[in-house]
């Protein structure tokens, strides 16, 4: 089956756009479990995008990446996070560093910024995925922003994972995926990192009776 | 060589003999002004002779510094005198030191005198030394500068060269304003360095006012004689400086015996005149408070400085 390049490109762009949209949804969401769900959704879109690229380019190793994404980011990590939420008994985030409307505005600005920054190098990319790089950068920045704007450890982890998603989008869409061994290594690392964060969150809860990271200000000058 | 040694010895003897006379002269003038007869002309000589023969009383608190000081003071002052032209414009020892050397030789004596003042452990001696320190520190820069102002005309700080050159010009001063200022400065310095009114009063032993007398309060007998003689020599030295640097009229510029003898006579007249002037001043003015002395000596410094500035400005 041959798909017209324009169509393929538009499909990829569509998926990327959906990824970006879920970011905004996460920003707008106070409930933690909903955030996790949205992250899982985003990961699904990521997997779809990766599969699309794999299909359109014939780079089959990207399928594996897509599959791993599904396994790790759609299934394993959300479960761990949910378990943590369950155990810690924190349902929603009431106080934010930056309130939701402003957050949304800022994220809009970040998207514009990302497009502005990547504009000079976009022409270099493959025709199929030209805009994905900008979107990937937007997602990275938004994920970063989530980490700054949110207080709970869990949301910070979600922010971190969103950054990872953006990064993967960049890797698969813009660069047609990294070599397989690299992908595998990266996934392994992310998995371990997620585990360790989970462990630490537990310990934090045990020691501080809270996962509100804004209260972690004992060490300062 | 022998001639040089001879002249040096003669100069030494002349100065040694003349110095008590000058002291006596000042006393005489003051006595006259106070409508007194006063002691005789030879009284200072008698005093010295008597002091030399008397026993000395030495404090048990003192050290060898106390005993050595009179000799060091006497000989350093005498050495300084040998560097100053008295009757011959080019003294044989002129190569051995210039005006700075003279100033520092006198300082050597002062230094030991200050130590001696502290040596006995009495508060008076310490007070005298302490006051001597401040007076000396204010006079010496002025003295060096004032002589230098004159030295500029002659192109030398060597006293002999200065006097010789001026003498060859028949004492015609080429730059009168700087010379006058320097003269005034040097005169003030003379009053201060030799412990005269209005800086110090050699005739008093009032504990709160004395400076020089306080330092030598513990001395007696032969030691006191040497010190008194050294101060007389110092006075003479300054008067000689004033007269021969600013008015070297009549001084011998060649080593002929007649001229030199004439030189001695003229010099005696000149220093006697200055002594009379000092006697007059001592009678006319009151002693200044210690902390007013600063202003007085500051004036000397400024005058000598102005002398140098004027010299350069007038010369362009």
């Amino acid at each position: 089956m041959v798909i017209h390049p324009d169509l393929g490109s538009q499909l990829v762009n569509l998926c990327s756009a959906l990824l970006l949209l879920t970011c905004f949804a996460i920003i707008a969401q106070r409930r933690l479990s909903a955030c996790v769900d949205l992250f899982a959704l985003q990961s699904v879109f990521l997997a779809v995008t990766a599969a699309l690229v794999a299909f359109l380019t014939g780079a089959h190793h990207i399928y594996i990446a897509a599959a791993l994404t599904v396994v790790i980011k759609v299934i394993i990590l959300p479960r761990i996070l949910k378990a943590v939420i369950e155990r810690l008994n924190v349902k929603r985030e009431l106080v934010l560093n930056i309130n939701i409307p402003s957050s949304l505005l800022i994220c809009g600005a970040l998207v514009i910024l990302a497009f502005y920054i990547t504009q000079p190098i976009i022409s270099l990319g493959f025709l199929l995925t030209q805009d994905s790089l900008a979107i990937a950068l937007s997602i990275v920045l938004i994920g970063f922003f989530i980490m700054i704007a949110r207080k709970k450890a869990v949301t910070q982890v979600i922010g971190f994972l969103v950054i990872e998603n953006g990064l993967f989008l960049g890797a698969t869409a813009a660069a047609y995926g990294m070599p397989l061994i690299v992908e595998l290594g990266v996934f392994f690392d992310i998995l371990v990192a997620g585990l360790i964060i989970g462990v630490y969150t537990h310990r934090l809860q045990d020691t501080f009776d809270s996962v509100d990271t804004s209260k972690l200000t004992g060490l300062k000058e | 060589m022998i001639e040089s040694v001879l002249i040096t010895v003669v100069q030494m003897i002349v100065a040694l003999l003349a110095s008590p006379f000058i002291v006596g002269l000042i006393r005489k003038v003051k006595a006259h002004l106070q409508c007194r007869q006063g002691p005789g002309w030879l009284q200072p000589y008698y005093d010295l002779a008597k002091l030399f023969r008397k026993d000395v009383v030495v404090s048990t608190h003192t050290s060898w510094i106390f005993t050595a000081t009179p000799y060091i003071l006497f000989s350093s002052t005498l050495t300084a005198v040998l560097l100053v032209p008295i009757f011959l414009s080019k003294v044989p020892l002129n190569f051995a030191g210039d005006i700075i050397t003279v100033v520092y030789l006198l300082a050597l004596g002062t230094f030991f005198l200050m130590l001696a003042g502290l040596d006995a452990g009495s508060a008076f001696g310490g007070m005298g030394s302490s006051r001597e320190a401040i007076v000396a520190s204010l006079t010496e820069p002025a003295m060096i500068l004032s002589i230098f102002a004159v030295g500029l005309t002659a192109g030398s700080t060597n006293l002999s060269t200065i006097v010789h050159k001026t003498a060859l010009l028949q004492g015609i001063v080429t730059d009168p304003p700087p010379h006058l200022m320097a003269l005034a400065a040097l005169f003030i310095v003379t009053l201060a360095e030799t412990g005269r009114v209005p800086v110090d009063n050699p005739a008093t032993h009032l504990e709160l006012t004395m400076i020089h007398e306080a330092m030598i309060l513990e001395y007696s007998g032969r030691y006191l004689a040497l010190i008194e003689w050294a101060s007389a020599l110092k006075l003479l030295l300054f008067l000689t400086l004033i007269s021969n640097v600013f008015a070297p009229w009549g001084i011998a510029t060649e080593r002929t015996p007649v001229w030199m003898a004439f030189g001695v006579a003229v010099w005696l007249v000149k220093v006697s005149g200055l002594a009379v002037l000092i006697g007059l001043i001592e009678s006319m003015f009151a002693k200044l408070r210690l902390f007013r002395v600063t202003d007085f000596l500051g004036l000397a410094f400024i005058l000598s400085l102005l002398a140098i500035i004027f010299f350069y400005i007038l010369r362009g």
Binding site: P120, E164, L167, Y200, T207, F208 | -
Partner: protein, 494 residues
């Protein structure tokens, strides 16, 4: 030679895995001492091989050029002494009671894995695989930082994890961008990620992409290297981690971060010219020095003190490479190894002080020289070295860097010297307060078992530090010449 490289990399991994099975302290001690010995021997072989002029490689995966060998030298030497030190330090903790055997064992597992990840990272000839190894080191260190289960240690660990994971992720984005640039030239393949290939093709890569990639990598690995303003995790982690870990974090991990940045710089420079990366590095370097110098002034905790000093030195190295040229590059490299030695020595000494007094308060420590002559002396010498005093190598490298800077941009040299002086004053003030004077507290003396190992580690580091300050050994110079070539320094080293 390739086998030596394999042994060098495998030794920590094997040792770490074996540690899992150890049941008693003497066995652990012997295992780790053996580990250290193997590390040193293998490193010596690798360094000798590379110094002789041949890069050591194994397959297409591992490749040790001069720069890698230089990093191996640092990692293995300091890593080895750190192991010896850790044997003493953790043994002391074990015998005193706060650490029970399973945690004692776990410590060494983490530690060995940490070393493994670092040694692996510097010998990988692949930009992306290197990233994986660096990430591995970040993860293994994360476990060690929070090893003491105090509130402070947890907080420090959390901050370390979050900031470093974010940083390392940004670095990966940068890596992706490099690939984005290189695959157009070298094709979609592993080749496009190999350092050696990239270095050859550097000139033909897209400059704008590389610029962006460098920004990401600089910030990403810069976080790991403790470059201001990404340094904020560093003082916390260094202060709260067990001291052997602090020493390795400061002496080695920061250099690993720098290594990653520098590698990329060698790719970026031919493509966009040296000015670009240089400016960023000089700017961040001076900022790091400024921040570190001011915090040194107001520091009250001696471990944090040395941590800030590390930030300062990372700044110095950045300035050195930023200004470039023979003097700058040589100075930067020389600074890295000297700093690794001096800073680990300082931390070893600090650890002993901590064991003795049980607190990290500078005000509470005096008279070290009287109470613990070796420890106090080591701290004094290390502090002097860190403050940039001869006869230690840091003085030489600082002068070289200043020279390089003055040649290019005099104001950089002025700022550099000014900051050095401030940092000197602050560091010397703080350390001398502790070292001099009469001791206040008696504290708890070391048991002979722990003291022996730590003393050895201190002495070994001191000797090495003193030696390369006075005389640069021939093999080191043999490494430096090709290394400066890696950094495109043309012409003779004067």
């Amino acid at each position: 030679m390739a086998s030596a490289l394999i042994i060098l990399i495998a030794a920590p991994l094997v040792s770490g895995l074996l540690s899992l099975a150890v049941r008693t302290r003497p066995v652990m001690e012997r295992l780790q001492m053996g580990h250290a010995a193997v590390l040193w021997a293998a490193m010596a072989a690798v360094v000798a091989g590379v110094a002789a002029g041949d890069d050591v490689s194994f397959g297409s995966l591992l490749h040790a050029d001069a720069l890698s060998a230089f990093m191996d030298l640092m990692l293995a030497f300091v890593g080895g002494t750190a192991l010896v030190y850790a044997v003493g330090y953790m043994g002391e903790k074990l015998s005193r009671g706060p650490v029970e055997f399973p945690r004692y064992r776990r410590f060494f597992v983490y530690f060995d894995l940490f070393l493994f990840a670092m040694v692996f990272a510097v010998n990988l000839d692949n930009i992306a695989l290197m990233w994986i190894a660096v990430e591995g080191s970040t993860i293994s260190a994360a476990l060690s930082v929070g090893f003491d289960r105090t509130k402070a240690a947890l907080e420090a660990g959390w901050k370390y994890i979050i900031l470093n994971f974010v940083g390392i992720t940004l670095a990966l984005f940068g890596t992706v961008l490099v690939y984005y640039a290189s695959e157009h030239v070298l094709g979609v393949s592993m080749e496009a990620l190999k350092w050696s290939v990239l270095a050859r093709a550097a000139g033909s890569l897209n400059p704008v992409v590389l610029k962006m990639a460098f920004v990401f990598v600089m910030i990403g690995y810069g976080t790991k290297a403790g470059v201001a303003p990404m340094h904020t995790w560093l003082p916390d982690a260094h202060a709260e981690a067990p001291t052997p870990i602090s020493a390795v974090l400061s002496g080695l991990m920061l250099n690993l971060g720098l290594y990653a940045v520098l590698r990329l710089k060698t790719i970026v420079d031919p493509a966009v010219g040296p000015e670009f990366a240089g400016s960023i590095m000089v700017g961040l370097g001076l900022l790091s020095m400024t921040i570190a110098a001011t915090f040194l002034l107001i520091q009250r905790d001696y471990k944090r003190l040395f941590a800030y000093s590390s930030i300062e030195h990372v700044g110095i190295v950045l300035v050195g490479f930023g200004v470039g040229g023979a003097a700058g590059v040589f100075g930067g490299l020389f600074h890295m190894i000297n700093h690794a030695l001096a800073k680990s020595t300082a931390f070893y000494a600090a650890g002993r002080v901590l064991l003795r007094y049980g607190h990290k308060n500078i005000d509470g420590v005096t008279g070290l020289l009287r109470q613990m002559p070796l420890v106090g002396g080591a701290m004094l010498l290390a502090a002097l070295a860190l403050a940039g005093m001869p006869p230690f190598g840091l003085f030489i490298s600082e002068i070289l860097i200043a020279t390089g800077a003055y040649d290019k941009r005099p104001w950089v040299a002025y700022a550099f010297l000014l900051l050095l002086v401030v940092a000197f004053a602050a560091l010397v003030y703080q350390v001398f307060r502790m070292v001099l004077g009469e001791p206040k507290e008696t504290g708890v003396p070391m048991t002979p078992g722990g003291g022996r190992f730590t003393d050895f580690a201190l002495a070994a580091n001191l000797v090495a530090m003193g030696y390369i300050g006075i005389h640069m050994p021939g093999f080191l110079r043999a490494l430096f010449i090709p290394m400066t070539r890696v950094f495109h320094v043309l012409g003779e080293i004067p």
